[in-house]
Symmetry: C2
Amino acid sequence: MIWVSGWRLAAAVSEAGGLGLLGAGSMKPEVLRAHIRKLRQATTKAFGVNLPLLYKHMDACIDVVLEEEVPILFSSAGSPAAVAERLRAAGRIHVHVVAAVRQAQKCEDLGLDAVVCEGVEAGGHNAPQGTTSLCLIPQIADAVDLPVIAAGGIADGRAMAAALALGAQAVQVGTRFAVCAESSAHKAYKQAVVAAGDRATVLALSPVTPVRLIKNPFALRALDAERSGASVDELRALLGHGRGRAAIFCGDVREGEIEAGQISGLIDDVPKAHEIVERLMEGYQRSLSTLNQLSH
Amino acid sequence: MIWVSGWRLAAAVSEAGGLGLLGAGSMKPEVLRAHIRKLRQATTKAFGVNLPLLYKHMDACIDVVLEEEVPILFSSAGSPAAVAERLRAAGRIHVHVVAAVRQAQKCEDLGLDAVVCEGVEAGGHNAPQGTTSLCLIPQIADAVDLPVIAAGGIADGRAMAAALALGAQAVQVGTRFAVCAESSAHKAYKQAVVAAGDRATVLALSPVTPVRLIKNPFALRALDAERSGASVDELRALLGHGRGRAAIFCGDVREGEIEAGQISGLIDDVPKAHEIVERLMEGYQRSLSTLNQLSH
């Protein structure tokens, strides 16, 4: 949720009854601090910060999270061990994003509070294993006693019911909130997701680090290079820098990386965040009614 | 379900309350006829035949299906148009396997009776789109009025509840039944699936035709060749012929293609088919109870 989830979106989600998360991966430490303070002014509800651990400003961002007394940190993209120690000492809630059973077990061993179980349908940076939410959620739910938060492919109440049926205790919703009024994504990015059909996304750049993108001229070039056996260095050169920002924040939907989940095909409007939360709850209840009718 | 679903498995599934399917992709026409006749002696319940349309004996197998008055045909891997006409004229039920919204709409236009919506987690031959069941089921359910049968990633009652919550009306279960007492798969194949963990399968040979396999020396060679940019002809030469039969029917789990779904990691025993059906129903009810508790 880099370039997408600033204080406006996080506050709107928390106010609507969800747990708003600041996507810190696109923020320098003092920018993160400013967002945390604005978020506190906008809501008294609980919120969290999501921090990719491979991020170069990571240590300074953890300092900010601790200094500003953020109650909940979601970490991703790296080993949670070092961060876990700092957060536990400070009495904070620590959740880590995993894509395999062994990673979830490691989080449990480290004393974390929950895991986000992320399937290959998720947008943006992705795990190399390629395991789908439908296969991953029940296997992680069986393997650990921690609460499991399902992510990847969840944009409506049907998917929320499915994730909970599979053994998750909660869901994390990305692309659906990236395309709402309070998201700081560029209008052209939101329109690209709205226009996307069921076959719009690809998992590209796997030899560097897999990332799910909506197909555009850049994504197709990256796939072509990969298929013709380009080296990691060649792919890195092709990727360059700043393509995520270019597409998501600046609206270059031809040459930027349009990071978005495979469920983009189901997204066809730009509502307010509270409407998304209301639809999730209504859709969940409709799905549950259907299941109850089928079982009689 | 080639080399797996002969008359014994199909009869056991139909007797247990499911719809048993003969996997005709590994059968010559007269072998298919013999299986249909034995199946009729083993059960009076409804059953069907699954036929990959790219199969060279396809026309002769359709003749057999019509002559033997098989009530239900599931077709896959090709355009259902020509077959649809023959089956409609004979008053049979025709279901086709799809992996994209547009394919499902085409089936509806052709007057088919239902679609199987197959996600990328499915074992064996797979679609190039890579769409997961969690993303595909609701989009197809929204796009067509036909009954949607979910396939790919479904081995227990939790996944059945998830599929129905997403908008499917039924589920098709592959790998779980491939690993049961009545499956004609080799013991070594069944053991390979039982031993598989959550990261055991890969989607290989995509430039030829994507196939989901449990990683073994052959699958890793195929992936290496693909990643270093091997041509379609080179990959075809590497593949050769008969590797599916070698692994599934003859037990060569090193050099054969161990076709199996990504949900293999959840499969850890070799029960009878009726026990699988009972577990599906019990697990479904448990999931539903959990959802009902969560919604109060």
